[in-house]
Amino acid sequence: MKTTAETTSRPAWRQRRPRSVLPLLYGLLLLAGCSGGSPSALNPAGTGAARVSGLWWLLFWISVAVFAEVMALLAWALVFRRGAARVRHGQPLRFVTIAGAGLPFIILVAVYGVGLRDLAALGASPGRDALTVEVTGHKWWWEVRYAGASGATANEIHIPVGERVRVRLRTDDVLHSFWVPQLMPKTDLIAGETRETWLEARRDGSYRGQCAEYCGTQHAHMAFLVVAEPRADFDAWLARLDAPARAPRTEAERRGQQTFAQGTCAACHTVRGTGVQGRVGPDLSNVGSRWSIGAGAVPNDAGHLGGWIANSQTVKPGNAMPPQPVDAARLPDLITYLRSLE
């Protein structure tokens, strides 16, 4: 799969990202969508999804064969049993029993066996020392933490490619469901309980996931991205997640940081190493590097970020962030600061 989302995930590329390219990339993605760029379960990139994809094609071809049988019988009746056809009064119980119960039973038993095998494969949890990602569902975003890092990120999960990674799922409020069609079938997040699943990407790339259990007003905008990358890249990324956020370098960034720390932002958001430790909204320590704003609501660029800060209710009505009374003069600096947090 060659999507642009995949490209955005490459740290090497990110460092020389020209700001104006993003809209263009999304335009390309729109085209790519029609040519297999969707998060399709039929284009698996993970061990779990590949299992299910195999099962699907088995079921699909069986269905085609049985459907052809039924349609042939129906067509026979429609062609030859009209007009002057003589009514026969038999009771072909054997035909009904064999075609309606016997054959389906044999097929279903076989398919059930295959299904059980796949279920067992999906249930095989990763080893005890496997990397663990802690994912917490919120209305309407995903909080992501790692066992080995102090920081948190949101709506973006990085995993090393080729490794089976444990994902521990909790929810802060209502039910959600964790679904990455190209990597792994769903596991629900159950209020009051912890669930586990795993991810194993066979090739690097970015894979879109989305909440699949209706969770309220903005269920539609609760997407996330799983970025599978080589182990070295992953380690570097995780190290940054453990470290303080990048400090401001320019004057504009410094002014933006001031606005951020003194304004209402700090009440809800965290930026590591700055003393800003709000816990209501997502940790923003690496917000500049994320793939989207608002869990897939809009792309992460300066324009959308400004719009989101000013009034996110127009972008994602019902989300927890009220419109921010940021002075128009200060907004550009604030945006610059946030964009610098990578």
């Binding site: 993605l29 729109l30 790519a32 969508g33 040519s35 297999g36 760029g37 998060p39 399709s40 379960a41 999804a49 299992r51 099962l55 699907w56 079921l59 269905s63 039924v70 129906l74 009746a77 049993r81 009209r82 007009g83 056809a85 009514v87 026969r88 009064h89 038999g90 009771q91 072909p92 119980l93 009904v96 075609a99 309606g100 119960a101 389906p104 279903l108 398919v111 059930y112 059980l116 279920l119 067992a120 249930g123 209502v174 039910l175 679904w179 069609p181 190209q182 769903k186 596991t187 629900d188 159950i190 209020a191 669930r195 879109r208 909440c211 699949a212 007003t217 269920h219 539609a220 009505p317």
Partner: protein
């Protein structure tokens, strides 16, 4: 083959006049409110359910319009979420079941050769409750207070801290209110079919449609309490601070799902079984022979009714329950497809042996087979846990259950409407209009829902009010929307066809199709007393059977004419031997008053006007007491010893 008994020589003109006098309900406003005639009540069920179908269908059109393009703003997310919830809730609870109960109400007494249901006033009460509960739920929409949590309303999103306002109170109370109607209707169907069958209609001569309705009614009896318990606990959680579904108070959110699906999966068959019964009822007339393998079909109806109680966990395959329970429920869900397979091949065999008469009802039956079989395949796929986890809660499941419910329930209902329209209205429908309606609805259905398999596999979750274009779902969504308008147009033509038939249709003979069951052996539309002579049934296809016909003409006897009152026959439960003639109740206001008092009760509960609710309960109790109050009889008639 068939005989219209209204001209039967054995029933004298005096008898007919007396029957008419005892059974007639004058066309007055009073009679409109007091009627207990199962045919009028059945028609009302059909019309009211169709009305709710239109409302729920229009909700779907708004949703499809919103989803035609990515990120469109036809409706707000809050509006969309109410629309999809009301669409599902109304289609399941206010359309599908009541529509089939409407067919049952009209047809069961006619098919079994009775003059009414076992409890005619309870029947009227059930209708009024259905009407009021439906209006109760829909009335919340203009106030922006409609249910907004999906038709299965999972906890804890249904709790007041996550979902303030009246939305889910309307849901809980509305479904509890409606449940009274469904339960009373189910009891009525079972008792009617057990006790009011014409003499000679032993169990092996009961029409398949009646079998299906009775099996459905039994499922309602044992499934609906789970939903009622669920909703009662939900209402207490929301209103009175209990903790059934609140983990912080020791409750458990999965309890909601277990109880909901213990009801919910049988409910799928509560909808589909009677529709399959319609198919079995329609086919004989259009294949010119009885349905093949009667006993196997009965067996599979009973099997479905029983097994459907053991598959509910397949709706919870992604909740992370133990794998062992998944393997069990997966096996049960796999097995339940087999009885449906038997029925499909029995119908195919019937068509292969008979002579097809290609009229509109047969077209819908064929449309049903094609569509339902496809829905069945995806259904069997969902029985496999691994596959289910991938596609559940995506558009794939939306495609699946619309194939099952439109293919398996709506198409048979449409076949039934065209088939029985002459009987219900006494008018024939317009064949050409019907064909257009079929082809538009059939094409529209597949154009709408087939692409949803794809969008689901491509990762689109259900219940999203919008989507972005990056994932590439735009094209297929647009196709779905176009299809939905085609489907709507087809259904509109059905409506036009019905109105045209009622207004302009040519008068229907008693038996336009040369059908096999008893409703075709009486007038179209039937007289208020249904049958001048209650037939003595001699075979599974009484209207095709000369001896049964003879029992209503030259063989008519006074004990089956019963013209000296508003009377019908009780027969024994298994072999339908005559037990005695019984008097049937007269029209009454009490059903309406009782249903009205319940409406006041539920509205008062909704608005927290508890004193009014108490008063309403007292009115309910007083009405029931007066309803069942024994008439004063002389001691010798009662048999008093001391």
């Amino acid at each position: 083959m068939s005989t219209t008994t209204s001209t039967a020589p054995a029933v004298g003109r005096d008898d007919l006049a007396r029957l008419a006098e005892h059974w007639a309900e004058p066309r007055s406003l009073r009679s409109w409110f007091t009627t207990v005639d199962h045919k009028r009540i059945g028609r009302r069920y059909l019309v009211t359910a169709a009305f709710f179908f239109v409302l729920a269908g229009l909700s779907a059109l708004v949703m499809r319009t919103q989803l035609a393009r990515p990120e469109s703003g036809v409706v707000s997310p809050q509006e969309y979420n109410q629309l999809f919830t009301m669409h599902g809730t109304a289609m399941i609870f206010l359309f599908a079941t009541p529509m089939l109960f409407g067919f049952g109400n009209f047809l069961v007494p006619l098919m079994i050769g009775s003059r009414d249901m076992a409890f005619p006033r309870l029947n009227a009460f059930g209708y009024w409750v259905f009407l009021f509960a439906g209006l109760f739920m829909w009335a919340s929409l203009p106030f922006g207070a409609a249910p907004n949590n999906g038709w299965f309303a999972y906890a804890p999103l249904n709790q007041v801290q996550h979902n303030p306002g009246l939305h889910m109170d309307v849901y809980a109370l509305g479904l509890l209110f409606l449940g009274i109607s469904t339960t009373s209707g189910a009891i009525n169907f079972i008792v009617t079919a057990l006790k009011l069958r014409a003499p000679g209609m032993s169990l092996n001569r009961v029409p398949l449609f009646v079998w299906a309705i009775v099996a459905t009614a039994f499922m309602v009896i044992f499934a609906l309490p789970a939903l009622n318990a669920d909703n009662a606990m939900l209402f207490f959680d929301r209103r009175f601070g209990t903790h059934f579904f609140d983990p912080s108070g020791g409750g458990n959110v999965l309890l909601w799902q277990h109880l909901f699906w213990i009801f919910g999966h049988p409910d799928v068959y509560i909808i589909v079984l009677p529709a399959l019964g319609i198919v079995s009822a329609v086919l004989p007339a259009f294949t010119r022979r009885g349905v093949v393998a009667y006993s196997l079909i009965v067996l599979s109806i009973v099997a479905i009714a029983i097994i459907s109680f053991g598959v509910w966990v397949h709706h919870m395959f992604a909740t992370g329950l133990p794998q062992l329970s998944y393997s069990f429920f997966s096996a049960a869900s796999t097995v339940i497809t087999i009885p449906s397979g038997i029925q499909i091949f029995a119908w195919l065999a019937t068509m292969l042996l008979g002579r097809l008469v290609s009229r509109v009802p047969l077209l819908f039956v064929i449309g049903f087979i094609v569509t339902f079989v496809l829905g069945g395949f995806t259904g069997a796929m969902f029985a496999l846990t691994a596959f289910d986890q991938q596609v559940t809660d995506s558009y794939f499941v939306v495609a699946h259950f619309h194939y099952v419910l439109i293919g398996g329930a709506v198409f048979p209902m449409l076949a039934g409407i065209y088939y029985w329209l002459p009987k219900i209205t006494g008018r024939m429908y317009h064949e050409g209009l019907g064909r257009w309606a079929f082809w538009l609805a059939f094409t529209g259905m597949h154009v709408t829902f087939f692409p949803m398999h794809l969008t689901g596999l491509f990762g689109m979750p259900r219940r999203v009010y919008t989507y972005r274009s990056e994932p590439g779902w735009d094209g297929w969504n647009l196709v779905s929307t176009v299809g939905s308008y085609l489907l709507a147009l087809g259904l509109l033509l059905v409506l036009v066809g019905v109105v045209h038939a009622v207004r302009r249709g040519r008068p229907a003979p008693a038996d336009p199709w040369e059908g096999d069951s008893l409703e075709w052996s009486t007038a179209s539309p039937p007289e208020p007393y249904n049958f001048p002579v209650i037939p003595r049934v001699r075979s599974l296809h009484p209207t095709w059977d000369a001896r049964t016909a003879e029992s209503t003409t030259t063989g008519a006897t006074a004990d089956r004419v019963l013209s000296d009152g508003r009377r019908t026959l009780f027969t024994s439960e298994l072999d339908a031997r005559t037990e005695r003639a019984v008097a049937m109740p007269e029209p009454s206001y009490k059903p309406l008053v009782l249903a009205g008092a319940l409406l006041v009760f539920f509205t008062a509960m909704l608005l927290a006007a508890y004193p009014i609710a108490v008063v309403a309960v007292l009115v309910v109790a007083a009405t029931i007491a007066a309803w069942l109050w024994p008439p004063r009889r002389p001691d010798e008639e009662l048999g008093v010893a001391s």
